[in-house]
């Protein structure tokens, strides 16, 4: 609780020095708490907060405030449907609380290993993004003079958002989780609408209604557990084991989680979120918003094992993974590729959580960790490149390694972190594959193998664009402010360290989560010899560049120009044709729009997924009431 109050206090107008100081304080607090929990070795750490009368009132007031805020803004921008959804979600819950139908549980807060791991993600990655934002917003308003400078408000929102994240992770009482859940929905809505252009407003309302719809699902689950099952806490539900009654709220919560983590059919809000300044995208995509959804799913996954809900969740996740990775091939806007890749990766995490097996949860937690770090790094680098080159199109990143070597190098590490062999993502994918095979879901295996083919394609061609070395090309001025480097460099270092440290992370962070979730001792998911081999691979990846530097391979080769079937005019971008004319030459990446284009694939996949979700809700909820 102290952390949250501390956060809210900092969330007033302040300058970047204050952000740094405040940010690092919060980060230190988060790390301190997390390390304490991780080191304690106790697998059932509950912090009791029994006398919760006052905070309960406070939270109720907060819910009313959020509802009013949504209503006010909806009327202002004439989007009345948002009011309806907001009212439907909030009023019944209020009624339940006020009429005394709510169950008073014993614990309101819980801090266990999983919460500690999430603390680390939110505390480190989230705060680094905030620090990045303080420098970025200055540049942003420098370039976008038409947008009213409300960066104080924006930065404050980011901290409120992080506060809500900490609150959500620590809460065990479902009512409290619901409150924080709604805060993040509204915060993201406000952040997306920051520029107040028409597009931004439209996209922000799309995000709002989708997330509020999820909120309605959550509220329904909340009421059901309170009024029929006499349970008020998340841990009671997960401890209850799979049964016909318990599966109804679980399904409703899972539905809410699907909207939050932007799975198909709800993906469009995350794609629309691109219009906001980069830090908010980084925040939504990596450390916060979308991670809540999968956090919830991972919490619920032991209950979902072997149930129809679990199967449907895995199918939706697997389908999203595949479809989003195909869509990512066809777009050239850097941020959009990142958005699709987020959706795709979350699909994989969702699918892993849905299997409910131990390997599945292991892979899901690992993916969450690696994805948070790599994705926030990539978003920040794209933002910086946009500030330097005034474009974030991948085609314009041609030859980035010459133009902006420092950012290009960081970006290469980030991209490698997303798909290359010894880096973390692949380790997790490997575990995911094992868990899918063990759970015997054929469709999932097929989705995963085809999806990893297309994932490889879109990342590798981006990587190739960056690596192209163009002669006669000069370095651009790198105007990245120091405050942004303060954020980017630790993240880069973290990716590299995490590659080496993953066996340790598995043993000390992920295994305890498994033993909490599944109760009892859990055998090591990742075997001894495989770890050694992976370590050799990691070492090789770092040794090859260093070794070649030492041995000076290729230093005494003759340099030449590339072959262009004509006379190379000297800069690789022009050639002299057979009539003696100089002609321009340009190689674009492949996008295959005619086959997997957004126009062709986006709506069908949304419809397919919508049908799946509807089937899940109708069969499970309707069939068991």
């Amino acid at each position: 609780m102290a952390i949250i109050i501390g956060l809210l206090k900092y969330a007033s107008p302040f300058r970047s020095a204050v952000i740094m100081l405040g940010g690092f304080t919060i980060m230190a607090a988060a790390i301190y708490v997390a390390v304490n929990v991780l080191m304690s070795g106790d697998t059932s750490q509950f912090m009791y907060l029994e006398d919760a009368e006052i905070p309960n009132h406070f939270i109720m007031a907060g819910e009313v405030f959020l509802m009013c805020l949504v209503c006010f803004l909806s009327i202002k921008y004439k989007k009345y449907y948002a009011i309806l959804i907001s009212l439907v979600g909030t009023i019944p819950v209020l009624w339940m609380d006020l009429s005394g139908n709510a169950v008073e549980g014993s614990t309101h807060l819980r801090i266990d290993t999983f919460a500690a791991v999430m603390y680390l993600i939110v505390g480190i990655v989230g705060i680094l993004i905030c620090i990045y934002a303080s420098g970025y917003m200055k540049d942003y308003h420098h370039h976008h003079t038409d947008v009213v400078d409300r960066s104080n408000y924006f930065l404050a929102l980011m901290f409120v958002f992080l506060g809500a994240m900490f609150g959500l992770i620590s809460s065990d009482n479902l009512g409290w989780i619901y409150f924080f859940w709604e805060i993040t929905s509204v915060c993201s809505f406000l952040m997306i609408g920051y520029t107040r252009t028409e597009e931004a407003v439209n996209n922000s309302f799309r995000a709002l209604w989708m997330n509020l719809l999820g909120g309605v699902g959550f509220a329904a689950g909340l009421m059901y557990t309170n009024m029929y099952l006499n349970m008020s806490n998340l841990s009671e539900i997960t401890a209850a084991g799979a049964s016909e009654v318990i599966i109804i709220p679980v399904t409703l919560f899972a539905f809410a989680a699907l909207t939050k983590s932007a799975q198909f059919p709800f993906s469009r809000w995350l794609l629309g979120a691109m219009v906001a300044p980069t830090p908010s995208s980084a925040l939504l995509h990596s450390a916060t918003m979308v991670k809540i959804g999968v956090y919830m799913l991972i919490r619920l996954s032991p209950v979902m094992q072997g149930t129809l809900t679990g199967v449907m969740i895995t199918v939706i996740g697997g389908f999203t993974f595949f479809a989003a990775s195909l869509l990512a091939i066809t777009v050239s806007d850097g941020k959009k590729v990142l958005a699709y890749s987020t959706i795709s990766n979350l699909g994989l995490i969702t699918a892993c959580a849905g299997t409910g097996t131990q390997e599945g949860v292991w892979a899901a937690v690992m993916l969450v960790l690696f994805h948070a770090v790599s994705k926030s790094l990539l978003f920040q680098t794209v933002g910086d490149i946009e500030n330097c080159m005034h474009s974030r199109d991948i085609e314009d990143m041609h030859g980035l390694i010459i133009k902006l070597p420092r950012l290009a190098f960081i970006m290469i590490i980030g991209i490698c972190g997303m798909f290359m062999a010894p880096f973390g993502m692949l380790v997790s994918k490997w575990a995911a594959l094992k868990s899918f095979v063990e759970s015997g879901s054929v469709w999932l295996v097929l989705f995963l193998v085809f999806g990893s083919g297309s994932t490889l394609f879109y990342w590798a061609k981006w990587l190739g664009k960056i690596c192209a070395v163009i002669h006669q090309s000069f370095e651009l001025e790198d105007i990245t402010p120091r405050s942004e480097m303060v954020s980017i460099i630790p993240l880069t270092t973290m990716i590299v360290i995490m590659c080496f440290a993953f066996p340790w992370m598995s043993g000390n962070m992920v295994q305890p989560i498994l033993s909490e979730a599944f109760e009892g001792t859990i055998e090591n998911v990742i075997g001894g010899s495989d770890v050694i081999i992976m370590m050799i691979m990691v070492a090789m990846v770092f040794m090859i560049p260093i070794g070649s530097r030492i041995l000076s391979i290729g230093k005494n080769s003759k340099m030449t120009m590339s072959y262009v079937a004509g006379v190379n005019a000297g800069d690789d971008r022009h050639y002299i044709d057979s009539f003696g004319k100089e002609r321009a030459l340009y190689m674009s990446n492949w996008y295959m729009e005619d086959y997997f284009g957004e126009k062709k694939l986006l709506w069908p996949s949304i419809i397919v997924a919508a049908v799946l979700v509807a089937v899940m809700l109708i069969v499970v909820v309707g069939g068991n009431i």
Partner: protein, 289 residues
């Protein structure tokens, strides 16, 4: 135990280029005979590589050399991992990593033919990546392990359980071994529309390294084909060798029969074949289990 692993890996590192080079020469002899030519001597690939090694290397940039060296090292590592009895999934992950390094080498040159080759190579990887992963999964279904060491101790040959996977794998081998109709990324002949695709801007020692890596790769692929037949029974090794020879001959035959296709045809055909054969096989295995 550790000693045997190291011995196996070292044996692979030493023997694979010899076997790979010979196979590659055999391929050229077969092709020539099919076309009614005399063809080069069996050891021509070795002569070629030695010649390349003695030539002066010209490079377009210095990063290129780094990527090509990385490609060779990763390919050797992949093969050693497989023949030493490692995890099949890791083998394929390492394999795709080595391929990515090769593609990066082509991308870095910024030459139009190299980049076109690189894009096509990536497209090819997208085509065969699902199947390679499925092969590992298929072996897991058949014998309950991803470790090559456990798989060769099987009681019945894996082909009995996963014939569909075998067909799918032989099919994607056409891509992997750069055979027509799917030799989109490189072509054997300088005068074609691709020039030499992926390897256009490589020369001398660098090109020799690529050739060497492809020999290692060839042996690895043939090893995986053999895996479908190997059991704990020593005689099964004979069957495996026969099967490998048949598959190798078949690939050469296909190479000479079909003209190159467009990339989208390749994508559609390979994904369909994988879905139909391996997918159905997987479904049946899952029902039986």
């Amino acid at each position: 135990m550790t000693v045997t692993i190291i011995v196996k890996a070292i044996l692979y590192i030493i023997l694979a280029p010899l076997i790979g080079g010979t196979l590659s020469g055999l391929d050229r002899v077969f092709s020539a005979r099919m076309q009614g030519r005399q063809g080069p001597p069996l050891f021509q690939p070795f002569y070629d590589v030695f010649k390349l090694l003695n030539k002066q290397t010209t490079v377009v940039n210095s990063i290129q050399v780094l990527f090509v060296t990385g490609y060779l090292i990763m390919t050797v590592f992949t093969g050693a991992l497989f023949f030493a009895g490692g995890d099949m999934l890791l083998v394929f992950f390492a394999l795709s990593m080595s391929e990515v390094l090769m593609v990066m080498a082509a991308f870095s040159t910024n030459g139009p033919y190299s980049i076109m080759g690189a894009q096509r190579e990536l497209c090819q990887m997208m085509c065969y990546e699902p199947m390679t992963l499925l092969v590992a999964i298929g072996f897991y279904y058949a014998n309950g392990s991803f470790m090559v060491n456990d798989l060769i101790q099987a009681e019945k040959p894996a082909i009995m359980y996963i014939p569909g996977f075998f067909i799918g794998f032989v099919f994607i081998l056409i891509i992997k071994l750069r055979k027509s109709p799917f030799d989109l990324a490189t072509s054997h002949h300088m005068h074609q529309e691709m020039v030499k695709g992926l390897t256009t801007d490589l020369s001398g020692g660098n090109l020799a390294l690529v050739e060497l890596a492809e020999w290692y790769d060839l042996v690895l692929m043939m090893g995986i084909v053999g895996m479908f037949f190997i059991t704990a029974n020593p005689i099964s090794r004979l069957w495996a060798i026969i099967a490998v020879s048949c598959v190798f001959f078949l690939e050469t035959l296909i190479d000479n029969l079909f003209p190159r296709v467009k990339y989208i045809t390749m994508l559609k055909v390979t994904w369909t074949v994988i879905l139909v054969f391996a997918g159905t096989n997987l479904l049946i295995l899952n029902v039986l289990k």
